[in-house]
C-alpha cells in the first residue's frame, strides 16, 4: 500500500489539538568545535522543561546531506515526502509573494535582462535594477493581452518577477528561456506535449510583446523565464489527516506553503504576539495550528550568532502561552538548520521537541542539538513528524488487526 493511503486509512478524529511551532532554520553549529550551538547557548527554561517531560529527536529534512529550501523543508514538516511532492520553481516563486495559484495556472519565474543590438544577452540580471524600477516595468508588461488566457505579472525584487498564465488546457512542460549564458539570445519556449506546446506559443507571444514594450529601456530591455510549473498536487490536511488546520504565519512564503496544503490563513499577524493572540482567539475553531517564526533563520543567514541566540530566547518566552491553552501535542522544531557559522541553510539534522502525555521520557534534560541526538525519537525523516504528532494526539488507529 502507498504510504499516504495507509496513513489516510488510519486517521481518526477527536478533539485533541496539535501545535506545530516552526522556528525557521532552528538547527545551528558551534562557532568552534566543542562549543555550544545557538540553541544550546540560549537560555530556554520553558523549552527545557518540555524537553524533560517530552521526547527529543533529530529531523532530517529530506535525506542526509541534502540542504532544503523553504519549500521542501516545510513540505517535509507537513508530512509530504519532499522528493515525491515537488513545488516547481515558478509555483514556489508565486507562492512566496503570496500569489494564490489556482488549478489551471502555470507560473514562471522571470528575470529582466540586458540585450545588445543583436538581441544577445549582455547581463542576465539587467544590472540588478532596483525594485521600484522592476515595479514600473511590470506595469508595462501588465498591458500585454494574449488570446484565451488571463495573465498576471507580479514584481518580486530587483530584476525578478513572476508570470502566471491562467486558462484551461495549459501545460508546464516548457523549457527555461534563460540560456544561463551571455553572448547568446534568450531561448525560444517549446513544449513537450500539446498543452505545453500551446503554453509555449503563448509565452513566446508574451515575450515578443514585452520586447517591444521594453525596447527603449537602457538596462532591462529583455527578459527570460524559467521554472514553468503548475500548482503542485498536494492532498490537503483535511483529506490526508482529517485536520482542520490553521496557519499563523507572518511572511508570504510560509502563508503560501500552508495554503498549498489546505491550511486556513488566520489573520495577518505581524509579530509573534499577534500570532499568539490569533492562536488564542481561534483555539476552538481548529485541530491543528502551524505557527511560523522566521527570525531564527534570518539571524542565521546574517551570520549573527548572538542575534540568533536572542531570537531563540524570545521564542522560548512565548512557549508558556501555547502550553496554557492545553494542546495534546506540542512540537517545536525547524524546517532546516541555518547555522550562523555558515550564513545559509544547511543539511544538518534539526532538533525536535515533541511534548505529549504519551511520551516515553528520554534522558534529555534540555532542548539542544547534543541532547536531541540521544533523544528517544532518534533521527528520522521530517515527513514522519506528522504521523508521530497524530499518534500522540490519539488520531491514528491501528494498522492491521
Amino acid at each position: 500500500m502507498k504510504w499516504h493511503d495507509v496513513l489516510q486509512s488510519l486517521v481518526e478524529k477527536n478533539d485533541h489539538k496539535i501545535v506545530l511551532l516552526v522556528a525557521d532554520g532552528l538547527g545551528g553549529l558551534p562557532r568552534s568545535p566543542g562549543e555550544k550551538t545557538e540553541l544550546e547557548s540560549a537560555q530556554t527554561p520553558h523549552m527545557d522543561r518540555l524537553a524533560r517531560e517530552g521526547t527529543l529527536g533529530m529531523s532530517i529534512p529530506v535525506k542526509p546531506g541534502i540542504t532544503p529550501g523553504s519549500g521542501p523543508g516545510h513540505l517535509g514538516l507537513f508530512g509530504y515526502d519532499p522528493l515525491e511532492f515537488v513545488i516547481g520553481r515558478g509555483a514556489l516563486e508565486a507562492t512566496g509573494i503570496g500569489f494564490h495559484l489556482e488549478e489551471n495556472d502555470v507560473a514562471a519565474r522571470g528575470n529582466f535582462c540586458t540585450l545588445d543590438a543583436q538581441g544577445n544577452i549582455t547581463d542576465r540580471r539587467a544590472g540588478r535594477i532596483p525594485t521600484p524600477e522592476c515595479q514600473r516595468l511590470v506595469e508595462k508588461l501588465r498591458t500585454i493581452r494574449l488570446p484565451e488566457v488571463e495573465l498576471f505579472v507580479e514584481p518580486v525584487r530587483e530584476h525578478r518577477f513572476v508570470l502566471v498564465l491562467r486558462g484551461s488546457g495549459l501545460g508546464d512542460a516548457v523549457n527555461d528561456t534563460d540560456p544561463q549564458a551571455t553572448g547568446v539570445p534568450p531561448l525560444e519556449a517549446q513544449g513537450t506535449d500539446p498543452p505545453s506546446r500551446r503554453t509555449a506559443e503563448l509565452v513566446n507571444q508574451f515575450v515578443a510583446q514585452a520586447r517591444r514594450l521594453l525596447a527603449e529601456e537602457p538596462r532591462a530591455n529583455g527578459l527570460t523565464l524559467r521554472g514553468f510549473s503548475a500548482r503542485p498536487q498536494l492532498p490537503s490536511y483535511e483529506e490526508l489527516y482529517g485536520l482542520r488546520a490553521a496557519a499563523l504565519a507572518v511572511y508570504p512564503m510560509y502563508r503560501g506553503l500552508a495554503r498549498l496544503v489546505g491550511m486556513e490563513l488566520v489573520g495577518q499577524p505581524q509579530t509573534l504576539e499577534e500570532q499568539l493572540e490569533l492562536l488564542r482567539e481561534n483555539w476552538d475553531r481548529f485541530d491543528f495550528f502551524f505557527i511560523h517564526y522566521k527570525y531564527t533563520d534570518s539571524t542565521g543567514e546574517d551570520g549573527n550568532f548572538e542575534a540568533k541566540v536572542q531570537k531563540i530566547q524570545e521564542l522560548d518566552a512565548a512557549v508558556p502561552q501555547i502550553v496554557e491553552l492545553g494542546p495534546s501535542v506540542l512540537v517545536i522544531t525547524g524546517d532546516h538548520s541555518t547555522p550562523s557559522k555558515l550564513r545559509s541553510h544547511s543539511w544538518h539534522p534539526v532538533p525536535v521537541l515533541l511534548w505529549a502525555d504519551s511520551c516515553r521520557t528520554d534522558a534529555c534534560t534540555s532542548f539542544g542539538e547534543s541532547e536531541a541526538v540521544r533523544g528517544g525519537l532518534g533521527q528520522f525523516e521530517a515527513q514522519y513528524l506528522m504521523p508521530l504528532a497524530l499518534a500522540h494526539a490519539g488520531r491514528l488507529g491501528k494498522y492491521g488487526a
Copy 2:
C-alpha cells in the same frame, strides 16, 4: 535490485542457530514522565547480562507513528515490509483461529446480524450472541453446499465467524457486504474482475441459503461478510533465508502467522516451560526458532503495570535455558509496544537486544527503553532485524565484490 532479491542472493548456510524470542507488546511507558517503564522496572539480571555483552537498539515496527496490529507487527519482525506484504482481514481472522489457508482459498470475516421483516439490519452484531450460540449457528451454515467449491465456516467469538471458499479460479476483489449502518439491508457481493465476480456470485448464493437456514433465529437471522482476502503471498523462510524454521507458540494467531511464512509448528505448547522443553527437544532439527510470549502484551492491554513487570521477570528467568543451548544469535524484542498506561498497542519503538559473538559492544548496561535508545543498533525498521540476525549468524555473504 529489489531488497528481498538482494537478501536472498546473499544467503549462505551453516550450522549456526538463531533464536528470536518475541515478548509481545514488550515496549512500555513510564506511569509519569521521568519514571521507569515496565521493562526498566523489572528485575532482569539475565537479559541485563546479555545487554552488556550484546548490542541494543530500537525497532520501529512499521513507520514512525504507526501502531501495528499483530499481523504487521510480526511480519516486520519476520523480515517482510508490512506496507508491502499485507494480510487481508479475512485471511488474518482465519489465521488467528488456526485455520490453515491454502493457495486457492478466499477467506472473509463474518458477523451475524439481526434483520427486521423488511430485511434491514437492526443490529450489526446480533446482540453479541454468546459464543456457544455462534457455534450452534455455524453448524447450521456448514450444511450449505455450493457448486465446485469447498466451504468452511468456523466460529470465532460472540457474533463473529470465518468463511473460507476453497476452489480454483477464485478472486478476493469482492466488496464488504456489511453496510456499516443499520436500517439498510446487507449489500450484495460484487467482484471487480472475472474470478472475483465468480466468487461474489458464490458468496451471494451462500448468503441466500444462510438466510433461509437462519430465518427462525430471534437475533442472528442474518449475516454480513467483510475483508475478503486470499492467502498472502509471502516467500517462505526457507526460500528467503535458507532457514529451517520452527515456531514455538501457544496462541493460534502467532502459530498461524508463523505458518504463513513457512515455519514448522512444533508441538502444542501451553506454557513457557513447554516451549523451552520443545526448544531443547528440537534443537538439532532447525536453524531458527521463533518463541512467542504473549503475557507482556495481555498485561499491558489490561493496564496492569505491575503484572507486566512480573511477566517480564518470569521471561527473564527462562533466558538461561535458551543461552545454555548455545545459539549463535539470540534476539529478544517485541512486535510492538503495549504500554500499560495506554492499555493498547502503540507506535512507540520497541527495545531490541541482539546477542552474538560478533556484537560490537555498546555502552548499554541493562535491557530497557532508555538504554536501547543509545544502543549500537540505533533505531531501525523491524524488517531489518532478520538480516542483522542472519549476518551475526554468518549466514549472509558479501554484497558485490
